[in-house]
Assembly symmetry: C2
Homo-oligomer: 340 residues x 2
């Protein structure tokens, strides 16, 4: 078992990814291949006590930046840390790939390098949303902006399996995101997907509304990547906005400032519970390899969590479970359908 | 100037709508026609000191309930408070219609009864979202689940005019909701709408992401009614979730409970700022009449705010401004395109 980590991915690279690799190797005993420019990584790794740790460096001279155009960068920078890490997975030298870099580039690099699983037309990016009852999995959150009903059915299947194998949910309830609970609600895509999901072997509970997500009404939320992306970013914006306002209100009076000192531990626990970064990252489901995309702002502990999730996914034989016919075959695709 | 209020609409009808009418008539000096079963309303109104107030009762024997199917109920219950109130607007006996009832039925009743403004293919429901900088207008939030690019352009135009005339924004910045800021981002609908909006005379600032809404990056957010509906309900669910967790965390320790007493005024100001009900309601833009749909849970003060907004819209000649050719013509439509 070994996870390939893009040491150059994210706003805080290479320091935080490397610190995350050290955490994962030391505390979780997961071997990590740090992929990036050798000397730079060796120097940064040298800041940590690492002599006994199962960490190796795999040289990759090129770097894909956060603002780069995904397809263009992945094609041009063959020796990028992302492409090299993906090749480690493809060749079997690594069992999973983790990056906090450019999400679009990660998806393109993984899809070009690994291909899709048999039976999956469109890989989907999934994320974990905190809910009143714990958490749920939402997919797609940005890999596919225009979907067909069959794609949403496949998202439901993949989400159900991920929820079962990785999140440990016994019989995941799958909901279809719509503008009303009634079967007749939804745009054309959702109305057609509803019929497919209802006819499937999934534990499909029907349409759900936006408010049902934080309420924890389901374990897997199915939506197209446009709506999913808008939602995830809106939730991020609302969290930022609410805590910002709260800070403002608390500091606007002496009474508030004294109260703030007392409620600080409560607020910090609250922030922790609503912070989806705690969950490590977003799995790209449907490509023929384990791929976890962590948030660009990820710190070491988040990276370490993502490595843990990738390792668990590899051990759980997630890929075999995701392919509808329970066999994994590699297929390359020139028309990715991914958002780039 | 007179506003027709659906006295039977909402979870707290008729008590709260009638109390709201009393507030609006007494404090804002806005004449109100209370529409609903005469005796029931007269009895409820009798609980208030109302002898000098400009409130009249208009009898409407039928009631459309929150769970009724919109088109079916509007067609069957000709004498419903909604239909009768809409007819008051149509005949000129009232200058605007306010309801906290079944949103779908309100849209259908208004569209069937009033028709569309000239040049508007699809009326849109708009709502006000609180932001770091104040608020912004989001439309469509549920009238149209499947849109064409021209519809989004029309939403942008109507939103811009509402923002200018009713919300007092000088040169409203209009943003198109997408999954990335670049022009190339978006699903097919959004990519095509982007071109139309860019070529319009609006102050179009380009694509925005979900997180830009609470940040207050724009004054008007354009999206299709499916995405808008999901967003508004998600925001509602997140607020409910966050305040629920906060309560839980604060009461889990003695320190938290003492702090909670001190921060209560701050929290209540915060709740007030993020509570979109404070803004009164959602205007249905594009029908040939002023229509404001308030939240089903609205209390008297929210109803009174909605009446104030309706009155302002009527005085501002909003309808003339909304028609692209600056003239209002009534058109009835059998194919509403509204979500029902």
């Amino acid at each position: 078992m070994r996870i390939a980590l893009d040491a150059m991915g994210g706003d805080n690279a290479p320091a935080e990814p490397i610190a995350g690799a050290v955490l994962a190797a030391r505390d979780l005993h997961i071997p990590v291949s740090l992929v990036g420019p050798h000397d730079l990584i060796a120097r940064e790794l040298g800041r940590h006590e690492n002599s006994q740790l199962p960490i190796e460096i795999v040289d990759a001279p090129d770097i894909i930046h956060m603002a780069d155009h995904p397809v263009e960068a992945v094609r041009r920078l063959k020796g990028s840390s992302m492409n090299v890490a993906v090749q480690l997975v493809k060749s079997g030298a690594a069992d999973g790939f983790v990056t906090a870099g450019n999400t679009g580039a990660a998806m393109v690099s993984a899809l070009f390098g690994l291909g899709r699983l048999s039976g999956i037309e469109r890989p989907a990016l999934a994320t974990i949303f905190p809910t009143q009852k714990g958490h749920c999995l939402v997919l797609d959150i940005g890999a596919n902006t225009d979907c067909r009903p069959e794609h949403l059915l496949q998202f439901g299947r993949m989400g159900e399996r991920y929820s079962r194998l990785i999140l440990g949910t016994t019989r995941p309830r799958v909901g279809l995101l719509s503008n009303g609970e009634e079967e007749s609600k939804g745009n054309k895509l959702v109305q057609e997907a509803h019929v497919l999901l209802r006819g499937s072997d999934l534990n499909f509970v029907g349409n759900i509304e936006g408010k049902d997500i934080p309420r924890g009404s389901v374990d897997v939320v199915v939506c197209d990547g446009f709506v999913g992306n808008v939602m995830v970013k809106l939730a991020e914006g609302i969290a930022e906005f609410t805590f910002g306002l709260l800070r403002e209100e608390l500091t606007s009076s002496i009474r508030g400032r004294i109260g703030a000192i007392l409620v600080r531990p409560s607020l910090s626990r609250l922030k922790h519970r609503v912070d989806y970064q705690e969950y490590g990252g977003a799995p790209l489901l449907g490509v023929a390899g384990i791929v976890i995309v962590a948030h660009g702002r990820s710190r070491a502990v988040t990276i370490s969590n993502a490595i843990r999730v990738a390792s668990k996914a590899a051990k759980s034989n997630l890929l075999e479970a995701l392919g509808p016919d329970d066999s994994v075959s590699l297929r390359t695709s020139s028309n990715s359908g991914l958002v780039t």
